[in-house]
Amino acid sequence: MDQLNVKEQQEFQKLVEQKQMKDFMNLYSNLVSRCFDDCVNDFTSANLTTKESTCISKCSEKFLKHSERVGQRFQEQNALLMQNLQKR
């Protein structure tokens, strides 16, 4: 990214912010898909059963904790990778 000048960096920053809402919505819909897929498999009624509802609740909390942890590791590994590339 160090090839961008100041003005370009500002433009790029705007782009990043623009994408953040998208990223959040992406996370959200991935979470819904995942927990719906893993927890809801009984279609004998139109409403969630208590069991399904409990499953969804645990699944979504766990998914958020999961993606938070993966996000932290991702940033660490990415920083490490950048360091190694600059050493070359």
Binding site: Q18, M21, K22, F24, M25, N26, L27, Y28, S29, L31, V32, S33, C35, F36, D37, C39, V40, N41, F43, T44, S45, A46, N47, L48, E52, S53, I56, S57, S60, E61, L64, E68, G71
Partner: protein
């Protein structure tokens, strides 16, 4: 749609449109997901008939209904978790 969007004081037209577009893309994405997931859960893949039969139709209706309930519940869960400060700065 989905009640997202919220109140944001003093945002430019461009920002509002970008938020609206992001929301539109999400709703479209969720619809496509729904089509795909309820197909997996309800449609018989032997394709002996070209109609959606009664049993499949009933399953689809319930599938959509349960998907919306899931969606609402996940939204509420995320808000609660966000308020409890259990997570990042996301939310």
């Amino acid at each position: 749609m989905f009640g997202l969007g919220g109140a944001a004081p003093q945002v430019s037209s461009q920002q509002k449109l970008q938020a609206a577009e992001a929301e539109l893309d999400m709703v479209t994405g969720m619809f496509n997901q729904l089509v795909s997931q309820c197909h997996n859960k309800c449609i018989n893949k032997s394709y002996s008939e070209s109609d959606v039969n009664k049993q499949e139709a009933l399953c689809l209706d319930r599938c959509v209904s349960k998907y919306f309930e899931t969606n609402v519940q996940v939204g509420e869960n995320m808000q609660k978790l966000g308020q409890s400060g259990a997570f990042m700065g996301r939310q």
